[in-house]
């Protein structure tokens, strides 16, 4: 119940930020500088978008380009946002990861291997993180940790390395059908564990 209330509160905050970006007015009714509203949305989501882009691309400059493209797309497509489908943070992550995957898949196979070997390690100690971020991290890591190892592996290869199922099959030496089944089962379990709430 409390979780639901917090989620609604966060939803209202993020929605009002998007409204402010689109309309130039804040939830308190005051005229709002749209730049400040976009900045608030950026502060809410950019760290997550940068994290997934850096993880996928292994290149800080490219990940920064992805963050830039993501917020320009959010800015242009505010009217497409559907609050019943996802929170703005989820929307930003979906767009950001998608743009990073586009870049990753545009690289040749050789370039992907070379980039993966030269990938910049993500800072192991990122410093203090906001409480709600630590709580999300704990929930997701816990949900991943209770998956059978072979299911966790396919999710990590698909989500954090951006591999398609046939590439996962080649990497793990498992039949494609087995990989598909593992991905499906893992996603069903994660949905149950995490609630599928955006």
């Amino acid at each position: 119940m409390r979780e639901n209330m917090v989620a609604r509160g966060m939803f209202a905050l993020a929605w009002s930020l998007l409204v402010a970006v689109a309309w130039g007015r804040g939830p308190g009714g005051e005229a709002v500088d749209r730049r400040q509203a976009l900045r608030a949305l950026y502060d809410l989501c950019s760290g997550k978008v940068m994290a997934i882009a850096l993880r996928l691309l292994g290149d800080r400059a490219e990940a920064e380009d992805v963050v830039q493209e993501t917020f320009l797309e959010l800015w242009r497509r505010t009217a497409d946002y559907d609050p019943t489908r996802a929170s703005p943070a989820t929307w930003a992550v979906v767009i950001g990861r998608s743009r990073a995957l586009d870049r990753l898949r545009a690289r040749s196979s050789a370039a992907r291997v070379a980039m993966a070997q030269a990938a910049e390690p993500v800072d192991a100690d990122p410093g203090p993180q906001p409480v709600e971020v630590r709580e999300d991290q704990r929930r997701v890591r816990e949900a991943l940790s209770v998956l059978p190892p072979e299911q966790r592996e396919v999710i990590e290869l698909a989500y954090f390395e951006g591999l398609v199922q046939s590439e996962i099959a080649a990497r793990t030496g498992q039949p494609l059908g087995t990989v598909k089944t593992r991905v499906r089962l893992a996603m069903e379990k994660l949905e149950l564990a995490l609630g599928g709430a955006g």
Partner: protein, 273 residues
Amino acid sequence: MTCEDFQGLAGAFALRSLDPAEQAAAEEHLLEREHRGCPEALVRARNTAALLASALPLVAPPEGVWRAIVARTGLDAPEQVLRLPAQPRRARRALTWAMAAAAVALLGLWGRERSARVRTEAELVAAQRGAQAEARDRAALLAEVRTLRESAARERELVALIDAPDSRLVPLAPVGGHTGRATAVVNVRAGRAVVLSAALAPEPGKDYQLWVIHGAGAPEPAGFLRFAHGAVAVGDIDPKLLATAPGALAVSLEPAGGRPTPTEVVLLGKLAG
């Protein structure tokens, strides 16, 4: 691909880990008009996939990224808080022609009547017209400020309605080959329901009319969507129709002023449970 097939792939689709042929087949399936739970399965899978990013520690982009975004959005220019609504292109063109015709007429007058008395009268008329125009501009600006205040109060009310723990968000999906969508925020206990859409465009000479449907009863007219400001349309459902929980809400496109029964339903949303 069947709905069952798609739903078995929804997780992989959300992860973007399908191979190209399967990805194309899944995208094609999503374009079909009738589904048994596919959009809902995709939303759940996408939200789950997006949450996986939370396993990573946040990485703050350098400040230069923000500066580049600001520059590319044009937000580094001074903010314009008051924006008069854009006039339709046809109206702008008509206005341009009218101004051009007036200018030609004035030039003709200027050429024919050169006496000092007429010039003085013309200057007086021009001054009066200028004052009238200024008064009109002032009235338009005041009206705009009033609209802003009303819109701000509406927005505050909307956020409060969304935030209420017993409010429900109901998606209104396109029907009958139409496009667009809307969201209804429904709070039966408070007798309040609002429909909002950022994906419908105003239609000249027509209104988007709201409808409430109870059980198997006929749709009851419940108000209109208004494009008061910006690109977002907002409409209040008549509270009298919320005495009992509606079974469904609809939006139809009707001749200006609406109709007692819907003629062209564009969006429909069911209130499950």
